[in-house]
């Protein structure tokens, strides 16, 4: 239908609850604004070819704007430029493009900051013991996608560990790091990775995880050897099950992000743009619109701002 | 009265009969409204050129292929075999030209393929356990009957046997289980002189037990030695049926290659 406004949502995958929520947020906002929403997703994380094809389809389809969580922040730029040249508004959600101004606007969580918050919290919680902590790093994939690198490096920075090359994980020399292993961001991978690192050093007492499913898997591994109560697990996302896991003591703290809000804001921006060409504005002092990140925990520490599990439950998924 | 006379005056009925059988493979018509009769207790030889449709005929009557048209009758009753299993249930055993053995399995496994014997009692009924000793014993007995005593180990894989031994196992299987009809498609093609002779002896032995046999062969001396009647196949049809006592091998070859007009 030619008269209605069409918007596209392109996520990295749609097998991750985070993106499912983002889509739900977009659908709700689109329904409210009377916009037709088309959603697309790659098959696996890192599958930017499918995202390029999706952008092309949106151009062909005469959409007014695209909301994009890029699987590869540089590779997608060509297709994004093509879309903008064709008159579409392109908004990067969750993951900034490289360069960030390749998109008309960016509504994102600061993933590095998200990592930094849990790192600071873990260090503060351990207090003096942080100096001889034994840390397991449960990352996303051997291909080291950017979210994974940003959170990992943010965590280490927050914990007070020297980063080496901040664009990749695994090159740190600090002896407190027992090792890195990959989880594919799910429970199964989380459990196996945790077991592997426990076999390397059974005394691990801090576990960084890329997201909450991986954290839940790691917890199962610890539980099977009876160590679930003397290890600190931190994670990112703050999804509703994740926050519940904090209440249940599975996770110590998590950095909460707000995919529903990102998507809703994105749809509103497209609606405004379609109406009169207004472009969205950035958060003052940043080169993107920060949708915010909050540390959720019931054991707040000094010097790190946080919200309680009750608040987190209220806000989960945004 | 001879078999031919009995047939002529209609005093005996065919045990296995085909009428108007048609089988097409793409554009090739392998069977072209072919008739076929096998009488009780006889050895019926089927001869014909390469590609005349002999194998297609016996496949059609033994359930290995379903004919496009036509009917098959067993003991006068129409039957519709859709797989060799159906035909076997009725007591028709076939040794196909391609032998139909599973190379990696043992001789005993192959002989009992599709009709395995299970242990008696609980283990057979509930655990469905095979009675290997029994199957091996029977297999050994059948092979000895055929003079294939040289097979050392009944559990040896069929692929480790020579071509002749394999033929022997296939023929022994058919002879052991065929209760109504035994069909042999070129059973001696790959065999040496000695091995061929054993198969011929077995064929005569089976007939003496009263079981009729269909024998497809290109070896005229063998055919004329053992057959009671000879079905001459040409261009997908039965050209004629001759009595080996009334015609010479030269006649048979002339009919089958089209050099001479067929009788009747």
């Amino acid at each position: 239908d030619g008269h209605a406004v069409t918007a596209c949502l392109i996520t990295k995958t749609d097998t991750n609850p985070f993106f499912v929520k983002m889509r739900e947020g977009a659908e709700a906002a689109a329904a409210e604004a009377g916009i037709t929403l088309r959603s697309f997703a790659g098959q696996v994380d890192g599958d930017h070819e499918t995202q390029v094809a999706a952008i092309e389809t949106c151009i062909l389809d005469g959409a007014s704007g695209i909301l994009l969580t890029a699987s590869d922040t540089s590779s997608i730029v060509g297709a994004v430029t093509q879309a903008r040249d064709a008159g579409l508004l392109v908004i990067a959600l969750d993951t900034p493009l490289n360069p960030i101004d390749a998109a008309d606007a960016t509504f994102a969580t600061d993933n590095f900051l998200a990592g930094e918050l849990i790192g600071q919290w873990a260090a503060a919680t351990l207090g003096d013991d942080a100096a001889n902590a034994k840390i397991a790093m449960l990352d996303l994939a051997v291909s080291q996608p950017t979210v994974g690198v940003l959170r990992d490096q943010g965590f280490l920075q927050g914990f007070g560990i020297d980063l080496g090359d901040p664009n990749k994980w695994g090159d740190e020399t600090d002896p407190r790091i027992v090792g890195n292993d990959v989880t594919a961001g799910n429970e199964e991978g989380g459990r196996t990775a945790m077991e592997n690192l426990l076999a390397v050093d059974p005394e691990i007492n801090v576990v960084y995880t890329i997201n909450e499913p991986a954290a839940a898997g790691a917890y199962e591994a610890l539980r099977s050897i009876g160590r679930e109560n003397d290890v600190l697990i931190v994670s990112v996302d703050g999804g509703c099950p994740g926050v519940q896991n904090i209440a249940d003591g599975v996770i110590g703290a998590t950095s909460q992000q707000y995919p529903l809000r990102m998507a809703a804001l994105g749809i509103e921006a497209i609606a405004a743009f379609a109406e009169d060409g207004t472009l969205p504005e950035n958060t003052p002092g940043k080169d993107f619109f920060d949708t915010g990140v909050a540390l959720v925990t019931d054991q707040p520490v000094d010097g790190v701002e946080s919200i309680s599990v009750a608040e987190g439950t209220e806000l989960c998924w945004g | 009265m001879t078999l031919m006379e009995n047939i002529a005056n209609g005093s005996i009925e065919p045990i296995l009969k085909g009428r108007g059988l048609v089988k097409r493979y793409g554009k090739v018509t392998a069977l072209d409204h072919c008739d076929f009769d096998l009488y009780p207790g006889e050895i019926l030889a089927v001869i014909g050129d390469n590609g005349a449709g002999k194998s297609s005929l016996i496949k059609a009557v033994s359930g290995a292929v379903v004919p496009d048209e036509g009917d098959v009758f067993l003991e006068g009753k129409p039957v519709h075999f859709t797989s060799p299993i159906d035909a076997r249930k009725e007591g028709i055993e076939t040794v196909y030209q391609t032998l139909a053995m599973s190379p990696a399995l043992s001789i005993a496994d192959n002989m009992f393929m599709g009709r395995e014997i299970r242990k008696p009692g609980f283990r057979g009924k509930w655990l469905r356990q095979l009675d290997r000793p029994k199957m091996e014993q029977i297999a050994r007995d059948k092979l000895s009957e055929l003079g294939l005593m040289t097979i050392q180990n009944i559990n040896q894989a069929v692929e480790t046997l020579s071509g002749g031994q394999r033929q022997g196992v296939a023929v022994a299987r058919a002879a052991a289980f065929g209760s109504k009809v035994i069909i042999l498609d070129e059973p001696t093609a790959a065999l040496g002189v000695k091995e061929s002779r054993r198969v011929l002896e077995l064929i005569l032995d089976v007939r003496s037990r009263g079981i009729p046999i269909i024998l497809i062969s290109h070896n005229m001396p063998h055919v004329f030695e053992v057959a009671d009647r000879i079905h001459v196949h040409r261009l997908g049809k039965r050209l004629c049926v001759i009595d080996p006592k009334d015609y010479t091998m030269s006649d048979a070859v002339a009919f089958m290659t089209g050099a001479k007009e067929a009788p009747n």
Partner: protein
């Protein structure tokens, strides 16, 4: 004799005690080892497994050669092991099943969602999950056996269909371990652990789970069925040469359908075991199970062309990969290097197998 047949055939020695070609012995330790394994090829993967355990034991000492580490490997391979058992059946029939992982995961999601979303009693939900796996397997089997489509394509298509259905149906929602523990512990049944020789705090020692037991039982059961039942013999016959099997009286269609159905059923058990292992029901698990199970099967010495190989091989195949993965991690290889070395291992293990099988050697 009739006609003008010759009598030269009468010259055959009447009671010839047929002689057989002579044997000849070869020498050398390696040659003899190779020969011994050649005679019993099912032992090859076991041999490779033992050698790799010894290797890592030498390299890593008691860190690797502890009851804890060794049973940890068992736990880590249980899911792949169970699926590899199912995959073996299909590969023995000269097929391949790419949908195993998807079936396992959707079965586990069904068990979870029926319990939590629809409030079905958990026993029934588990039964429904197992039934679901069996049905999908049967559809695969029907397409392969009756429609005569290539297994690779059927199961490739089914993989995508089941996986997409999985995400659509589950709405990508995880059911948390804590909720399951409280309301439907039966779902985690196969995750139940018991320890042998742990210290007072329950640490260290050999740790087994019911899932590991299930894996071993499934292998034992299939080994029995393949060797001692007609069904098993028919599977080998169909894989060896389906036309020959058909002609010699095997119901090829029924055999194939039953194989894929049993495979689907076993995959559903793997899905159940998955819940036990990860505690929760997660629709994103098991994505690599197809490749991992095929790898285990092939390292285990079952030919991708069907009809040859012993079912115990894939168990050892899965364990070999598990030993290498954990061994390399303990030896300090990082995730990327481990990935690379496992690739090399796969080629190496099959090369050893090939060397041992070399007929003329």
């Amino acid at each position: 004799m009739s006609g003008n047949a010759d009598d030269y055939e009468a010259a055959i020695k009447p009671s010839a005690a047929d002689e057989v070609a002579s044997f000849s012995e070869r020498k050398g330790f390696l040659a003899r080892l190779q020969h011994a394994l050649h005679v019993n090829p099912a032992l090859v993967p076991l041999f490779v497994l033992v050698v790799s355990i010894c290797l890592f034991a030498l390299l890593l000492g008691s860190r690797f050669l502890s009851p804890f580490a060794l049973t940890l490997i068992l736990q880590q391979v249980q899911i792949v092991g169970i699926v590899a058992a199912a995959q073996s059946l299909v590969i023995l029939t000269a097929g391949i099943d790419l949908s195993v992982g998807a079936i396992a995961v959707l079965s586990s999601v069904i068990m979870g969602q029926f319990t939590f979303r629809y409030g079905v009693p958990v026993e029934i939900a588990v039964a429904l999950g197992l039934a679901f796996g069996t049905v999908v397997g049967s559809i695969n089997g029907w397409l392969v056996a009756v429609m005569k489509l290539p297994p690779f394509i059927v199961t490739l298509g089914m993989w995508q269909i089941v996986l997409a259905a999985n995400f659509l149906y589950s709405a990508n929602e995880t059911i948390r371990a804590q909720d399951i523990e409280e309301n439907a512990p039966l779902l985690q049944f196969l995750g139940t652990t018991f320890k042998v020789g742990a210290d007072a705090d329950g640490r260290g020692g050999a740790t087994f789970t019911f899932g590991v037991i299930a894996m071993v039982v499934i292998f034992a059961f299939l080994a029995y069925a393949l060797k001692h039942t007609a069904w098993g013999r028919h599977i080998y016959a169909v894989g060896d040469d389906p036309d020959a099997a058909q002609l010699s009286g095997v119901n090829v269609k029924r055999t194939l359908i039953s194989v894929y159905a049993v495979t689907g059923f076993i995959c559903a058990i793997a899905g159940w075991a998955l819940i036990g292992r990860i505690g929760s029901v997660s629709p994103t698990s098991g994505q690599l199970l197809n490749i991992e199970s095929i790898t285990a099967v092939v390292i285990g010495g079952i030919s991708l062309f069907g009809g040859r190989g012993s079912i115990m091989g894939p168990l050892f195949g899965a364990l070999i990969v598990g030993v290498f993965t954990l061994g390399l991690r303990l030896a300090g290889a990082d995730a990327q290097w481990t990935f690379l070395l496992i690739g090399a291992l796969i080629i190496g293990a099959v090369a050893v197998d090939q060397w041992i099988r070399k007929v003329s050697a």
